[in-house]
Symmetry: C2
Subunit: 387 residues, 2 copies
């Protein structure tokens, strides 16, 4: 008998991921080959795969024919993919992540329709729907293939092209979730036309964020296209979405995709934003909160003498010129709470050491591990005056 | 403006995993350094980390001092790890995966105690408790560090050293779960002494399984140690557990750890086993069902002329000599159901093409993609006679 039966064993391996994000217009137009070609290219054995399509209810009033268009599109593909049951329509926005009945109805559908690990779940909608469906797909049978079709600026340039999903738990934002890359993403720019003005604008906050910490040229481009972006020029928005998605994806692939460490540069402006979303009872959009959070951390960066006054002004001006309101009364009313519980919750969700990204210049990030009360109070006051 | 704003983007990256499985005796003995040394080695920054310990209730009657021993062990480690709240004791066995209240109480504890992504959840118990705690750890905050201390043969040689977790959903076995490697595993052999005879035996089925598809020498070793293994010789069991864990870990690391493909060789004997566990209303243990499932697939392999009669006899004899009952009345009563819905559920859970592992010899696997009704019926009859 082997004497080494007490020697330790080590397991070491790596898991490969690969997915592409395609940009298109009119994805369910019968003449549009993007999705069809992808599905055909994925067909490896003789099997016809199943697909469960989940649609954001917020799209229906703007695209009353969408359900029938999707069905017709898949009618031409029955040898490759078979839609199961009916298309599921779920209320979009935070409610779908808050109310567990939506999560449950999706898991039940996976069971009922016999969706397996090689079937598809196809999520069409805003970031909230994508997060919910992504989470269901990730944990059902330990992972069903997920195709995302994001329909908001934020989901096309940030949440929908990344690797995370989540739902809320007893009001705790994103408490449950996983890291689970999709197998493909299709950004259909035409969906952006129907967005409410707040959602059109709100998603641009993430582009400004990523430009501030990673790409000064992109910041300059946004600055010089303020007018078109504000006036809903779709081609300008297409560029903004594309470059923002690219920067996010590069960051994820070259960094720490599943966030095992404690640094999360893409969360610039987010620590106060998360708390503010909560304090406003989600009456402000994620991107609106991020704009305020970035404004706050930008002023704070200047208070700490990391960032020049010239650059501070430029950043606040861009936010204002795009139509963002960069202050919220809850910020002044709950200053201490934002500072203490906001920072603590942010640290807890990330884990490890508190790490906050500030700015040392446009495109130049600077990490700190604490926020001081006095400078933060000054920053809040400053914002209240300049807004 | 860049003209390529419609060009596709691709994300490609790999995620690295590494964990070790240590073998020890008396892990919470104050003189035992294994766990302590590991925790100290993980302490990177100044922070003291939190740990939430979850204990299998089935251990308490056998080790009435366990809770206080664990607390004392961690008392000597307060600068490194701080136990949060009290140690949570959860009923072991399938009930903890079936009843959602256990899942919920754990998620609540993660929230209440502020367990973050860099804290630990430490699960001590059988495969069911490890699966439950592993799932909670995997989805809370998108992943808390998991330490497993398996206490049954099956969990020490198979489930606890692998990368999967799960809970049941409305009676569907392992319907919800993820692939999420632990950060460390500690197999404490002394826990095996208190196992019920059925649990002692049942875990050996996985060792026979892995020997049959991967390692003839290991099969021969089990054969020649039948007597010691049956008579609860702890050193013999230690070797069996070690080698079986090693073969499982090698398979996972060198194969397809997160099972993106459709082949799952480690599921030899499992397709009928899963159905049988269900049909017996979980009155038979997983390993007992696997022994029957392997016996069935072994006879079937002989019926199809893949496997010689000599080897067939040897395999059935080993199972019987270890005390396994290799037939169950539900097998004859529900032959068609086992064949059709059993195969279908097995395929669905794995996804993709039906892939069943059979034997072409001891240590020589052979994949097939269908099971024929006639030969299966003959195999069931055969087993009924030889049992
Ligand atoms: N997973 C991640 O990495 C990540 C990153 C950032 C944000 N998020 C999450 O994304 C969510 C926010 O996503 P969002 O900003 O896309 O908003 P949203 O999903 O909340 O949608 C906002 C509203 O727009 C509607 N809508 C969607 N598409 C539309 C369209 N084309 N036309 C008209 N209306 C449309 C929706 O029905 C909803 O009412 C939050 O839950 C946030 O936590 C996730
Ligand atoms: N994750 C995986 O890869 C994987 C693989 C195989 C099986 N499993 C799962 O593992 C579970 C079965 O695990 P198991 O066979 O370890 O049984 P178990 O966890 O169901 O435990 C069986 C019984 O033994 C008790 N017990 C645990 N340790 C003991 C000890 N040292 N002394 C006395 N009693 C003890 C438990 O309280 C329970 O009553 C199933 O739910 C199965 O689905 C998971
Ligand atoms: Zn954001
Ligand atoms: Zn098994």
């Amino acid at each position: 008998m082997n004497e080494n039966f007490l020697s330790p064993l080590t397991s070491q391996f790596q898991v490969q991921y690969r997915y592409s994000v395609q940009f298109t217009k009119g994805i369910f137009d019968l003449k549009n080959p993007s999705l069809r070609d992808f599905l055909i290219s994925e067909k490896k054995d003789g099997d016809t795969k199943k697909a469960l399509v989940v649609l954001d209810q917020g799209l229906i009033s703007h695209y009353p024919n969408l359900v029938s268009e999707i069905k017709e599109y898949f009618n031409g593909l029955t040898l490759v993919v078979q839609l199961t049951g009916d298309i599921m329509v779920i209320p979009g926005g935070e409610v779908c992540k808050n109310d567990p009945q939506h999560w449950d109805s999706l898991v039940k559908a996976v069971d009922l329709y016999g969706i397996d690990r090689h079937s598809y779940m196809i999520a069409i909608g805003g970031g909230a729907i994508l997060d919910l469906v992504g989470y269901v797909a990730a944990v059902s049978h330990r992972g069903i293939r997920l195709i995302r079709i994001p329909t908001t600026v934020l989901s096309q340039n940030d949440s929908g092209v990344g690797v995370k999903n989540s739902i809320n738990y007893h009001g705790k934002k994103n408490f449950l979730g996983t890291f689970a890359p999709p197998i493909a993403v299709f950004n259909d720019l035409l969906f952006l036309e129907s967005l409410d003005v707040r959602d059109w604008r709100s998603g641009m906050a993430e582009a400004i964020k990523v430009s501030l910490i990673k790409d000064k040229d992109f910041f300059l481009w946004i600055e010089s296209n303020t007018h078109s972006l504000k006036n809903r020029d779709l081609e300008a928005m297409a560029y903004l979405v594309h470059r923002c998605a690219e920067l996010h994806m590069e960051h994820i692939a070259n960094g720490d995709p599943f966030e095992f460490g404690s640094s999360r540069p893409l969360d610039f402006g987010h620590w106060a934003a998360h708390k503010l979303e909560y304090l406003s009872e989600f009456s402000i959009r994620h991107g609106e909160a991020v704009a305020i959070g970035m404004a706050l951390d930008t002023v704070y960066s200047n208070q700490k003498n990391f960032l020049s006054k010239v650059e501070l002004d430029r950043i606040l001006d861009l936010l204002k010129n795009l139509g963002f309101v960069i202050f919220h009364t809850k910020l002044a009313e709950n200053e201490k709470q934002i500072l203490y519980s906001g920072l603590q919750e942010f640290r807890e969700h990330l884990g490890g050491k508190l790490t906050i990204m500030l700015l040392a210049g446009i495109g130049i990030p600077r990490e700190v591990h604490e926020i001081d009360e006095k400078s933060l109070a000054n920053s809040v006051d400053y914002l209240e005056q300049v807004v």
